[in-house]
Structures are given as C-alpha cells and as structure tokens.
C-alpha cells in the first residue's frame, strides 16, 4: 500500500550540496565495496606468496607496471578511508564526537587523511 508522495524530489547531482559528513559516509560505502571486490585478488596473492619461493618473488614484483600500481593505490585509499571512517563511526556509537561541529571536523580529517595516504603511496611507488 503506497501513498502517493507530494514531497519534493531533487536529484540534480551537480547542484546538490551535500555536507562533508555525507560525502565521507558515501565514500565509506564505496570504499567498502571496492575492498569487497578486491578480496579474491588479495587472497590469490596471499595464496601465491605462500606457495613457493617463485610465488613469493612474483607477488613482490606485482608492483611493477602501472595498471597494478594504480589498482594498489585505489585499494590503499579505500582501506585507509574505510578504516578511519569506520573508527569515526565507532567513536560516534560511543557518543564521542556527535555534535555537529565536531562531526564535521572529524569527517574532514578522515577524508583528508585518506587522500594523504593516497598521495604518500603515489610518491612511494
């Protein structure tokens, strides 16, 4: 049973101005899905590295070549963002940092820290 809704619907993505907390929340979900999709590759790599000495060496050489470097950088961002945004939510569960001003500050911190990790990773590779 649905009641026809009269509420306004506005989904123009370029004109929507989401608060930083919402962006960090969306990125938390996106990064989680990215990590989920990367699981088979990660397990395969672990399997290979433990198989024999050649496999271990091959796993170490995976970082040569830009397509895989790019993938590793995306995963580095996803892991950092997902971890930090998740810890932020755990603190909020514990009623730490719930106030709007604080919540916005911590959201900025999470988003920037994850991008910094990406930058450091890009320089290091």
């Amino acid at each position: 049973m649905t009641i026809p809704s009269k509420r306004p619907v506005f989904f123009h993505l370029l004109q929507l101005q989401l608060p930083v907390t919402a962006l960090v929340s969306i990125a938390h979900r996106v990064s989680g899905m990215v990590l989920f999709l990367a699981l088979p590759a990660a397990i395969w790599l672990l399997d290979r590295s433990l198989n024999d000495a050649e496999g271990f060496a091959a796993a170490g050489h995976m970082l040569e070549g830009w397509p895989l470097q790019l993938a590793v950088l995306v995963l580095l961002w996803a892991l950092t963002h997902h971890l930090l945004a998740g810890l932020r939510l755990l603190l909020i569960d514990a009623e730490i940092g719930v106030e709007r001003a604080t919540a916005r500050r911590t959201a900025w911190a999470v988003g920037i820290a994850a991008l910094l990790a990406l930058a450091v990773g890009a320089l290091w590779l």
Binding site: M33, L39, P40, I43, L46, L50, F56, D93
Partner: protein, 112 residues
C-alpha cells in the same frame, strides 16, 4: 527463518568484527615495520607460529562476517524486488563460502 540475523545482531557483528580487523591491521603495520619480511623462508616461518595461525584464522572469520553484513546492507538498501534481493543475498552467501573454503585451505596448508 527464526534465526535470521536481526538488524541489531548484524549491527553488533559488524562493530565487533570492525574492532578485530582494525586491531589486527594496526598490529600488522607495527610488526612488519619492525620486522620486514624479505624472503620466502622468513615468510613461511612466520606462518608456522601458532599465534599467527590462530590470530589470522580469527582475522579471516572477522573479515568474512564484516563483508557479509556490509554487502548485505548495500543489497537491502538498493535492491527492492524480493526475488532479485533474495537471489543476490544467496549469491553473496555462496561467494563468501567459496572465499572461506579458499582461506581455510591456505591456512591448513601453511600452518603446522
């Protein structure tokens, strides 16, 4: 389905597994910065320690539980048609089961 995982239980499982995952990650970060593993023998030797085997087995369980709750939430949020929703949830179950068997085989192969 009387043993369906309710919202609250799933929420709790997600949080508990998150705590273990972040703790393990922190440990791994510190451990591997202090003791870099440069060759295959050292890598294998590390996995021969019972604490490593147990800690990592728990990591794999936490990882699969965490992935299950997370992807389940995404499916429940965006997929409305009941049949499609159920099929995707079943697919997720099957997929995580495959990963679980794979991880268990890796662990039993490398640990004493």
């Amino acid at each position: 389905m009387s043993h369906q995982v309710t919202g609250l239980r799933a929420w709790l499982l997600q949080r508990l597994s998150a705590l273990y995952l972040s703790g393990y990650l922190l440990w791994a970060l510190v451990y591997f910065s202090l003791h870099p593993v440069n060759d295959y023998a050292a890598w294998r030797a590390l996995w021969m320690q019972p604490s490593m085997a147990i800690g990592t087995a728990l990591l794999f369980i936490a990882l699969l539980v965490h992935a299950w709750v997370g992807v389940r939430d995404v499916i429940l949020d965006y997929v409305r048609p009941p049949l499609l929703r159920l099929s995707l949830l079943a697919l997720l179950w099957g997929w995580l089961l495959v990963l679980a068997v794979w991880l268990a085989r890796i662990l039993t192969r490398v640990t004493p």
